[in-house]
Symmetry: C2
Subunit: 195 residues, 2 copies
DNA sequence: GTCTATATTACGATAGAC
DNA sequence: GTCTATCGTAATATAGAC
């Protein structure tokens, strides 16, 4: 069945979000205009309002989708294993997932201050959920007696900050492969929490 | 000698930079208007142009001053000691300095993308200089045989990312004192690079 | 050095034709 | 669903009086 002439909603919607994510990552939410997003997609500015009620909701939806994807991907990948093996899996998962979605990671961290209070609370909650996943692994290792960290929550935030830092310098096709980067960081993580 | 009536340049200049830093940290460079900065200082927008040629230069000057301060402060504080002791000094210095200037740290990292190319190159050079300070300490420890890191440059970036992450959660007057936070992070840094 | 006033440009969002 | 046109607002930066 041919669609109505001029109807592209099922393809234009994703392209709007894609263009917005790309532009927000490079220029920042406040510096990007709806006209720029529209130009990137190849429509006029007014047409964007068929896909989002406003600019703020467009940002919020991008950030929420990213963090929900992150949590779902880890929950699907997390092994049922010892704390040591689970921490290695988390380390490698975090690096792989975040380097494969650099724009979404960047926007979800840098644009927290661009969110209205109600939206900020939702995003902040998802971020805390992810931190708690790692904190739980560290507490498991403490119980097993294989880790030594005096403040699991703070250690979790410190490790996540270190791992997310990969995105500031890693480029696919560079001197180091992703597997090598994972090994380098796992070595530091492993030792940092060691007894 | 009384100054000319209405002349406050020696005090207004610093207040403009102070207000701009505060607003840029909270709302982002692109989201802050010159009118807002002027209102914060208590002057009209036009008066700001006695202190900066334009908004971009105001941002650039703030970032450059912060990074030059950071480098000068470390160079003045760095001990002439073993790699292990110098790394501990660096860890504690970085946490103390960065938590005491949270707005400048935040702006200098988040607004890199708001800089024009020529300004970006200057700031990026200063940032690399700082990373090299830590990289040099790590190489010294490798030569002494007291550290084990296979990629000193990457380890330096990883450690700086971890340490700077303190700023995302630390608040003076909270449950942990700065000395306790320094000790927590030094424990992780020490182990992460250990043989 | 600061003010008022303004030139110029751009913004987010909406209305209504097709 | 997309377009053209536009409303109402706000931006950076400058000119000239005091």
């Amino acid at each position: 069945m041919a669609r109505t002439q001029g109807s592209h909603s099922d393809i234009t919607g994703p392209r709007v979000r894609e263009a917005a994510l790309w532009l927000f990552a490079r220029q920042g939410y406040a510096a990007v205009s709806m006209r720029q997003i529209a130009a990137e997609v190849g429509v006029q500015a007014g047409a964007l309002y068929n896909y989002t009620p406003d600019k703020q909701t467009l940002l919020f939806d991008l950030m929420r989708a990213h963090l929900e994807d992150l949590l779902a991907a880890w929950d699907a990948a997390a092994p049922d294993a010892s704390a040591r093996d689970t921490l290695e899996a988390f380390t490698r998962f975090h690096i792989r997932f975040n380097t494969s979605r650099a724009d979404a990671v960047f926007v979800s961290y840098m644009e927290l201050r661009s969110l209205e209070p109600a939206n900020f609370a939702v995003i902040e909650g998802l971020r805390r959920d992810y931190e708690t996943r790692l904190e739980t692994i560290l507490r498991q290792g403490l119980a097993e007696g294989v880790f030594a960290v005096s403040e699991p929550r703070i250690a979790a935030m410190a490790l996540i900050a270190m791992l997310t830092g990969v995105n500031t310098w890693f480029r696919a096709g560079g001197r180091l492969s992703l597997a090598q980067v994972e090994a380098l960081y796992w070595d530091m993580v492993r030792k940092a929490v060691a007894v």
